[in-house]
Subunit: 139 residues, 2 copies
DNA sequence: GCGACATGTTTGAGTAAGCAAGCATATAGA
DNA sequence: TCTATATGCTTGCTTACTCAAACATGTCGC
C-alpha cells in the first residue's frame, strides 16, 4: 500500500480514532457528556488540586484556548465545573471540578473503561502496555 | 492514572490523533488539500479501478455520506476527482480519480510520509510494524 | 511609575462535519 | 403491474471546533 510503515501507522491511527469517537463518544452520551468533555473531567480529576488554568487545559486536551472557552461554558452552567479567579493574576481563570462533576466523572469512567476494553478486546495486556508506552512517547 | 490499560491507550490514541491532525494536516496544506481529502485520494489511488461509490468511500474513510458529498463537491470543482454514473444503477454516483488528482496525490504522498516519519521518529521499524498490525486488527 | 511588549481569555466569523428529512431509483411481493 | 420497502445521495439545520482580533492584565527596562 504505502512505501513507509509510518504512513500506514498514521492512516491506521486515524481510522481507530474514528471508531473511538463513535463508540466511546456514543457510550458517554448516556452520562450527558461528550468525549471532549470527558477529557476535561479526566484532566481535572487527575490533577492534585483538581483545578487548572484554561490554557493549560487547552494544551492538555489538544484544543485551542477558544475551544476551551466554548466547551467549558455549558459545563459550568450545568454545574460540572466552576470558575475561580487566581488572586495572584487576574488574567487567568481557573477551572475547578465540582462535586457533581466528580461524580459524573467517576460514573463515566466506568463506561469509558468498558467501551475501551471492548474496542481492544482482541489484545493481550502486554501488547497493550507496549503500545501505550509507544504512544506516550510520541505524545 | 487509570485502572484499565485500555482506557489509557484510548486517551493516548486521541492525543496522538491531535498531533496528526495538526502536523500532517498542516504539511498537506502545501498541496492545497486537508487530511480528509488526502484520505479520499489515498482510497481512490489504491483501488484497482480508481473509482468508488460515495457510500463505500464514506465507509472507508469513516465519514457520513453527507460528509462525503460536502467534501467531494469542492474536490470535483478543482478537478481532483470526477463524478461518473453507474449505468446499472442510477442511484449511485461513482467518484473517480482524475489525472490531476493522481498527480496531487503522488506529490502529497511524499509529504505525508515525511511528516509521518517525523512523528514516529523515535521508533524502530519492528516496533512500528507490530503497532501497525495491532491497529489494523482493531480497525 | 510609564511605555512597550507579553500573556490569558473571550468574541466574531468561518469551516468541517453530523443527523434527520427529502428525493430518486431499485427490488420484491401480491 | 402496482404498491411497499429498501438503498443511495443530497439538503437544511445544528454542533464543535479553528483562527484572528480584541481586550484585560501583568512585567520589564528605563
Amino acid at each position: 500500500m504505502s512505501k513507509y510503515i509510518e504512513s500506514e501507522v498514521v492512516v491506521n491511527v486515524i481510522s481507530i480514532h474514528n471508531k473511538i469517537q463513535k463508540r466511546i463518544g456514543g457510550a458517554l452520551s448516556a452520562h450527558g457528556i461528550g468525549l471532549t468533555e470527558y477529557l476535561v473531567l479526566n484532566q481535572l480529576y487527575n490533577t492534585p488540586t483538581q483545578k487548572m488554568r484554561r490554557s493549560d487545559l487547552a494544551e492538555r486536551i489538544g484544543l485551542s484556548p477558544s475551544g476551551v472557552t466554548r466547551l467549558i461554558n455549558p459545563m459550568e452552567k450545568i454545574g460540572l465545573v466552576a470558575k475561580e479567579d487566581n488572586p495572584r493574576d487576574a488574567r487567568v481563570s481557573l477551572v475547578t471540578l465540582s462535586a457533581a462533576g466528580k461524580q459524573v466523572y467517576e460514573e463515566a469512567q466506568v463506561t469509558f473503561a468498558y467501551a475501551s476494553v471492548a474496542l481492544f478486546e482482541p489484545f493481550e495486556i502486554n501488547q497493550l502496555s507496549a503500545f501505550s508506552e509507544l504512544l506516550k512517547v510520541v505524545s
